[in-house]
């Protein structure tokens, strides 16, 4: 393998046959190029999906209510289900081990004005945990804390777009904004990677809003994250348990799908994971098919080369080359050409990805790249491909009879 003379022979033969080496190598380089590009694209799609989801914590669960669709336990159907503060307290108490963060939610639309600038926005009244659940990024000031909840203070965390609309260049922190005639002090600004619309929101303490709306203890929804150590099965099992218990608590038929709706990210996530893994398998399959075409191409060219070199091989045998030496020569040459050209294909593919990848600004397609494992696999595939491509030609070469090869009428 590391016999210098063999390598010299190989370089010699490559150097003196540049065109056919190029043709041979091109098909494999191309195959690997396409394989890597395909896998990277699948990878980019995968990243795109995940990053869209990752805007929220990937272990979050949303609870919303609606009207019942079935009569149950003495109640008529079409009954409106209302969540209350004590539902949050109940979940906290009954599912201590299952949840990590929890927050109630109230949605209200509001007009907001500051020194003559006005706009209309959605307020989400929440608990402090909401920041973590929604992965809200605070760029100035702070988020709502437990003191705000306890005192029911009129404070607000406004989205970047809201701040732009109302305050222009000025700093909003500490300023008072009028929401539906009530003054709220701005304590923080947030951004959201997800989209601009999310930045047209305002967060306020839930207790404040409940006080404003005639001291209600009603809430519109609950968001929570499940214990992050849970795997998919446990997470799904938890949300089923949660659903059953809440249905019992609100006297909803277990078959009723519309009274309470629980939406678990884990579920959607598992669907997408299996979708993208199917995609990457398709990518691998297509890439390998292309590579096989390349291997057959190389095999073909090598057979042709052997034909062309019949006389030379005959001379070598007459001079004392044993069949295994001839075979080694052909195999090594084939492996060398495939591996080298494969690496060139790999190099081009990764260069293009490195150049173009970061420039792609599409939510569905982020950071297409190849992992070390892909590179390693591709290398192994190449060496095997080279061996396969060289095998038949090598056997043909080893079987050349010198007497036939040397006959003068050739």
């Amino acid at each position: 393998m590391f016999d210098r003379d063999i390598w010299q022979e190989i370089f010699h033969s490559i150097k003196s046959n540049k065109l056919r080496t190029f043709l041979t190598g091109f098909s494999v380089g191309w195959g690997i190029f396409i394989l890597v590009m395909l896998l990277a694209s699948v990878n980019g799609m995968q990243n795109g999906f995940y990053s869209q989801f990752n805007d929220d914590a990937t272990n979050s669960i949303f609870i919303r209510t609606g009207v019942t669709s079935k009569a149950y336990a003495g109640f008529e159907k079409e009954r409106k289900i209302q969540l209350k503060n004590n539902d949050v307290a109940y979940i906290k108490k009954s599912f201590k081990k299952d949840y990590e963060y929890i927050s109630a939610r109230m949605y209200r639309n509001t007009s907001a004005s500051y020194k003559g600038e006005t706009g209309s926005y959605q307020v989400q009244a929440v608990h402090p945990d909401h920041q973590i659940i929604e992965k809200t990024i605070i760029t100035a000031g702070r988020f709502i804390n437990s003191n705000d909840i306890l005192s029911g203070s009129k404070v607000a965390v406004i989205g970047r777009k809201v701040a732009e609309d109302l305050f222009k260049e000025n700093s909003p922190i500490g300023e008072f904004v009028i929401f539906n005639k009530l003054p709220f002090k701005v304590i923080g600004i947030f951004t959201d990677e997800g989209d601009d619309n999310a930045e047209r929101k305002i967060y306020a303490p839930i207790t404040t809003y409940q006080k404003i709306y005639s001291n209600t203890d009603n809430i519109d929804g609950i968001v929570l994250t499940y214990n992050p150590t849970y795997n998919l099965t446990k997470a799904l099992e938890f949300s089923t348990r949660l659903e059953n218990i809440l249905k019992r608590r609100h006297k909803i038929s277990p078959e009723d799908q519309s009274g309470i709706r629980i939406w678990n990210y884990a579920e959607a996530f598992s669907d997408i994971s299996s979708f993208t893994s199917v995609l990457s398998w398709i990518g691998i399959a297509v890439g390998i098919l292309i590579l096989i075409a390349g291997i057959v191409g190389i095999g073909n060219i090598m057979v042709f080369i052997i034909k062309e070199r019949t006389k030379e091989i005959g001379i070598r045998k007459a001079l004392g080359a044993v069949p295994s030496q001839i075979m080694k020569l052909v195999l090594l040459e084939s492996v060398f050409i495939t591996t080298l050209s494969g690496f060139i294909g790999l190099f081009f593919a990764t260069s293009i990805l490195a150049l173009v990848g970061p420039a792609i600004q599409s939510p569905a397609f982020t950071n297409p790249s190849v992992s070390f494992t892909i590179v390693l696999t591709a290398t192994i595939i190449l060496i095997v491909a080279g061996l396969l491509a060289g095998l038949i030609p090598a056997m043909k070469a080893a079987n050349i009879k010198p007497i036939v090869a040397l006959r003068d009428d050739k």
Partner: protein
């Protein structure tokens, strides 16, 4: 050196078989220079190929330097060829992308001789055939006579027991032919055993013994007074 008894060879061509060698008895002693003559199709090349282990005999026995040559597999045959025999062909059969020196060094490579020694030996034999200054040239840059001399150097490099040459002057004009014969005579003078297949009577008379083949048998085998090629060069 060479001991052949009752050698038969036929080629199968479809359903017929062509009986080419029909019982050859023949022996060559060390240091001989033998010309094998005969008309076209008489079996000269066939005989030489069998002697060169490039082909197998059907019947009879062949001993080379007291080693019976029988039922050799390809690997074994290649090793014996490398150790015992040097070949010179009518069409030179140099490897066209290797320089003169690399061509001469090739049999040594298959003898697993180290690089340096290989190059030294190759140069030494190129010098012996008068082509030292052509060492780095490709065959395409050499004349026919020069190519054949490189081929002879290559055949000598492995230091074989017997040199087999199938019409070594067949592709050369008469002046160049004599130069090559001069070289062959000198190699023979140094003690090498050489067999030459030829058509040309003047080339044959430059050997020490002439064997005549006709229809697969030896019809004449005589020692001759050697004509030195030197005179014509």
């Amino acid at each position: 050196m060479i001991e052949i008894k009752d050698l038969h060879k036929s080629y199968k061509m479809g359903s017929n078989s062509l009986h080419v060698l029909k019982g050859i008895n023949f022996s060559v002693k060390e240091g001989e220079l033998v010309a094998i003559m005969g008309s076209s199709g008489s079996g000269k090349s066939t005989l030489l190929n069998i002697l060169g282990m490039l082909d197998e005999l059907d019947k009879g026995s062949y001993e080379l330097d007291n080693v019976p040559i029988k039922n050799l597999n390809e690997t074994k045959a290649a090793q014996y060829r490398n150790k015992f025999l040097g070949f010179v062909f009518q069409s030179f059969n140099l490897i066209n992308y290797k320089s003169a020196m690399e061509n001469v060094a090739l049999p040594l490579y298959y003898q697993k001789v180290g690089r340096k020694e290989r190059q030294e030996k190759a140069l030494k034999y190129l010098e012996q055939v008068g082509l030292k200054q052509w060492a780095s040239h490709l065959p395409s840059e050499l004349s026919g006579g020069q190519k054949q001399r490189v081929a002879i150097a290559r055949a000598l490099a492995a230091e074989p027991k017997v040199l087999l040459a199938d019409e070594p002057t067949g592709a050369l004009d008469s002046k160049t032919s004599y130069e090559v014969m001069d070289l062959i005579q000198k190699i023979n003078d140094a003690g090498n055993t050489i067999l030459i297949v030829t058509h040309e009577p003047d080339i044959a008379t430059m050997c020490k013994r002439i064997v005549h083949l006709k229809d697969g048998v030896i019809i004449e085998d005589k020692n001759v007074e050697q004509v030195r090629a030197e005179k014509y060069v």
